[in-house]
Symmetry: C2
DNA sequence: TTAAATTAAGATAAAAGAGTCTTAAATAAG
DNA sequence: CTTATTTAAGACTCTTTTATCTTAATTTAA
């Protein structure tokens, strides 16, 4: 698994908010139920996104979370950075410290390309783009059966 | 981390055996010390490789492990398969079950390529090739400083 | 035959990741 | 003002991965 479960939950939740939160706050309970994510666990994860200025939150009745900025300006890598950190894009596949051009591991050449490609994908993919793509193609962001 | 720590240990140990085990058994203690891997932990991992017919082992004094087949005939994917399983090459980046051409997640298109590329790399890279490359270029398979 | 070396196997422990539960604080609405 | 709703925060539990420890079994060689 490239991303931690927390990070996957964060991305899926952010997509849900992008797609369903136009103009108002979305309650974490709703997100948790719709995406089949443990509520309290998701609460913590979204708190981290809020701390990292990717979301804003609002307490109390009618409270919830919302994107902190325009959906086209938030790319997935910001979420990954907040939850899993950027080290996952630098890590040596054989776990050797300071693996790189200078001191490569035997697999460095083979892996550096795909790793950069993954990083680029996360850099270039915005919540806005991905939410639109998800809607247009009726893609799913939950394992749950689609409810009308 | 794409591969588990166990899997990384397995690959590095297999490379060490390939490079240093010509014709005879290499003791697990030696591998563990040279590669800075916990001995008992490595023992279990190599037992798994032995159970999967990738290595043979020999008990008692002068015992150790050796490759079960010619080094050019063992590709990294066999080690990955034995330790982490093949699911890591099928897993959806967003953790959705049955993500694929039929029921893709929003990131499926972006990820399917790199995932296949990683898989191909492990399929095509043999222990023989990698050990030779490691020797020729003086690459390292351990975090430890190189000892004369 | 005995001692040393070495893998095999199983129990246990430590660490990290994932998930749950409870209480506090804030907000809206009656 | 009170109640219901909702996020914040912290403690706690569970599971998986990683690591350690002990004993058994096997083999070599003195």
């Amino acid at each position: 698994m490239i991303l931690s479960k927390s990070c996957v939950y964060a991305i899926r939740a952010a997509l849900y908010v992008t797609a369903n939160g136009k103009g108002s706050y979305v309650s974490i309970r709703e997100i948790a139920e719709k995406l089949d994510i443990p509520f309290h666990f998701l609460t913590k994860i979204l708190q981290t996104l809020t701390e990292n200025n990717l979301m804003t939150s609002f307490r109390g009745a009618k409270g919830g979370v919302a994107l902190a900025r325009a959906e086209e300006s938030i790319s997935l890598i910001e979420i990954v950075k907040a939850i899993d950190g950027m080290d996952i894009f630098k890590e040596c596949v054989l776990g050797l410290p300071n693996c790189g051009f200078d001191r490569p591991c035997p697999l460095h050449d083979e892996m550096v390309g795909v790793r950069d490609q993954i990083k680029q994908t996360f850099e270039q993919t915005t919540l806005g783009y991905l939410a639109k793509k998800t809607k247009d193609n009726n893609f799913r962001i939950s394992a749950l059966a689609i409810s009308a």
